[in-house]
C-alpha cells in the first residue's frame, strides 16, 4: 500500500528526515510517533504528496498485477487522482467558514465531479448515509462557524468519508479534543477502517492512544527511524526514556493486553515532595 525508501527531506539547511524507509500493508492501522520536531508531520506531507522528498521515493498503491509490488511514485499521481484515493484528517479540522455541514461534506465529492459539479453516481444518498452514521443529520443545515471543536472534527471526518478513500492519513486529529471525544473519534475511524478495509496512517502524540488503536508503530527521533513494529516491541520503557527524556512505567492494559505508558515526575522531584 505504501512503500517509503531512503527518504530525505531538508528545509533550508535543517535536515528534517534522513534515510527513512518502511512499508505499510493494506488494511493496517499504522501509527507514527515521536517527539516534537521529529519529522512526523513532514513524513505525512511526503506521503500525501503536499511536499516532495529531496531524496528517496514514496510509492503508493500496488502495481495492480497481483504481484504485491508497490505502485506508482506519489509524484506521478495528479492531485485529483490522489484525492480519489487518499483523504487527510488534520489537527485543526475546519476553519470557521459560512458553509453548512452538508455543503462541506459534499466537498469531499469534488474529485469525482466534472467541472459543472455533476457526478455519475447519486452522491446525495451517500452523503445522507454518512451524515446518519456520524450523527450529523440534526446539524446538516448549520454552518461550520457555529459548531464546537468536536463537531467540526466529526464534519471533517464525514468529508473524508465522502471521498471514499482507500488510504486515510491522520495528522494528530485528536489534539484539540477532550478524552471523551478522542476515543469517540478513534472508535469511529477504526469502525470505518474495518468496514471499508481502509488503510490508516496516523501521526499521534499520545502514546497510549496509539497503543490502543494501531497494530504497528513507527517511532521517529530527529528525523531518523528508531524502530518499526508492534506496540509491544516499540513502546518499551528504555526507548521512551531515551527519546523523550522521561522515566515512565510501562504496563500492560489489564483488559486489552496492549502496553500503556504511565508517566511520573522526575525522581528528584519525588524526593523533594516527601520532605
Amino acid at each position: 500500500m505504501i512503500e517509503v525508501q531512503g527518504v530525505e527531506k531538508n528545509y533550508g539547511s535543517a535536515k528534517v528526515l534522513s534515510d527513512v524507509g518502511f512499508q505499510v500493508n493494506e488494511g493496517a492501522f499504522f501509527g507514527i510517533l515521536g517527539p516534537n520536531g521529529s519529522g512526523k508531520s513532514t513524513l505525512l506531507k511526503l506521503i500525501s504528496g503536499i511536499e516532495k522528498a529531496d531524496a528517496g521515493e514514496v510509492r503508493l498503491g500496488d502495481a495492480g498485477d497481483g504481484s504485491g509490488r508497490a505502485g506508482r511514485l506519489v509524484g506521478e499521481y495528479s492531485r485529483k487522482e490522489l484525492a480519489k484515493w487518499l483523504a487527510v484528517l488534520e489537527q485543526e479540522a475546519l476553519p470557521p467558514v459560512g458553509f453548512t455541514v452538508r455543503e462541506v461534506v459534499e466537498m469531499g465529492r469534488f474529485p469525482f465531479q466534472n467541472w459543472l459539479g455533476e457526478e455519475a453516481e447519486d452522491a446525495g444518498r451517500q452523503i445522507d448515509t454518512i451524515l446518519a452514521k456520524l450523527g450529523l443529520q440534526s446539524l446538516e443545515e448549520r454552518t461550520i462557524d457555529q459548531l464546537s471543536g468536536g463537531e467540526k472534527q466529526r464534519v471533517a471526518l464525514a468529508k473524508a468519508m465522502a471521498q471514499r478513500p482507500r488510504l486515510l492519513l491522520l495528522d494528530e486529529p485528536t489534539t484539540y479534543l477532550d478524552i471523551g471525544r478522542q476515543i469517540q473519534l478513534m472508535d469511529r475511524i477504526r469502525e470505518w477502517q474495518r468496514e471499508a478495509k481502509l488503510t490508516v496512517v496516523a501521526v499521534l502524540h499520545d502514546l497510549n492512544l496509539a497503543a490502543l488503536y494501531c497494530d504497528r508503530l513507527l517511532l521517529l527521533n530527529r528525523g531518523r527511524i528508531v524502530g518499526v513494529g508492534s506496540p509491544q516491541e516499540i513502546l518499551t520503557a528504555e526507548r521512551i526514556s531515551e527519546i523523550y527524556g522521561i522515566e515512565p512505567l510501562v504496563t500492560r492494559h489489564p483488559a486489552l493486553g496492549v502496553p500503556q505508558v504511565l508517566l511520573q515526575p522526575h525522581a528528584e522531584e519525588r524526593g523533594s515532595g516527601e520532605r
Binding site: 500525501s48 503536499i50 495528479s78 492531485r79 485529483k80 490522489l82 484525492a83 480519489k84 487518499l86 483523504a87 487527510v88 488534520e90 475546519l94 476553519p95 470557521p96 467558514v97 459560512g98 458553509f99 455543503e103 462541506v104 466537498m107 469531499g108 469534488f110 474529485p111 465531479q113 467541472w115 459539479g117 462557524d145 471521498q163
Partner: protein, 342 residues
Amino acid sequence: MLIWGGASFALLLLSAVVSLSLGSARLPLADVWGILLSRLPGLSHAIQPRWPDASEQIILKIRLPRIVLAILAGACLSLAGAGFQGVLRNPLADPYTLGVASGSAVGAAFLILTGLSFGALYAQWTIPIVAFATGLLSLALVLRLARVQGRIRMETLLLAGVVLQAFLGSMVSFMVSMSDKVINEIVFWMLGSLALRGWSFSAVLAPYLAIGLVVLLGYARSLNLFALGERQAAHLGIRVERTKLTVLVVSTFMTAAAVSIVGIIGFVGLVVPHLVRLLAGPDYRLLLPLSALLGGAYMLWADTLARTLLSPTEIPIGVVTAFLGAPFFAYLLRRNKHGARG
C-alpha cells in the same frame, strides 16, 4: 440561485432607469421612457417622438453610455475583489487595498501623460494592457512583501498594500506634476471619474469583464474549497498554485481594465462581495455572478450620487466610494480582530 439572480438583475435594471432620469438637465420621466423604448427593436414605429432632440442626445449620448460604463466597471472591480478574497482567504483584500489599482494606475498614467499612445486610434486598447502589466508587477511585489516565513498574514498583507500604494501614488503624482497637460482632468481621472466617456470605452471594458467572469466562474467550486484552507483544498484534488495564479492574474486583469478607463475607484471590490456574502452565503457559484450584478448597481449609484449631489459640480466617484467604503473597511477590520479569520 434564480431568486437571488433575478432580484439582483431587477435591482440593477431599476437603478439604471432611475439613474437615467436623474441629472442636471431635468427631463420628464415620460420622455426618458419614450426615448428608451423607441430604441427597442420592433417598438420604434409604435412610439411617436414628442421630445426635443436635445433630450434624446442627453439620454443616448451622455447618460446611457455613462451608466453602462459604471455598471461594467463596478462589475469588474467587484469580481476582482471577490477573486482576491477567495484565493488569499482574506476578507479585506480588494484591488485597492492590495495596491493593484495603484499599480495599474502607474502604467496607465505613464501612457496617458507621456502621450506615447495618446490620440492614437488604439490608445484605448493599449492602456489597459500596460496597466495590466504594472498591476501584476505590483501584486507580485505586495505578495512578496507580505510573505513572512512562507505565510501571508492578513495584517502584513494590508501593510504591504499601504506601503506600495503610497509609493505608487507618489509616482503617479510625480508624473502628473511633470506633465504639461491640463492637470485638472488628470487629477479627476486619478480620483476616479466616469464623466465624458462615450460608448467606445464600454466597448473596451466589456470583453475584459466577459473573459474575467467566465474564467472566475470556472474556478467557483475551487474557490469554495479554498475557504477550507490551501492544504485541505490540495487534499481534495485542487492544484493550489495553479488556481491561485490564474485567479490572481484574472482579477488583476479586470482591475487594470477598469482602472485605466475610470481611474482609481476604491473599496468597491471590498464592500460588494462582502454584502453578497452576508445576503446569500459564501458559495462562489452564487457569490461571483451576484457580485458582478450588485457591483454594477453599487457603482451606478455611487456615480449617480457623484454627478447629482452637488450638481452641476461633479464629485469624483472615487471620493464617493471611499466615503462609503472606508468606514465599512474599518468595521470589517474590527470584526475580524474579534471573530474568525479567513
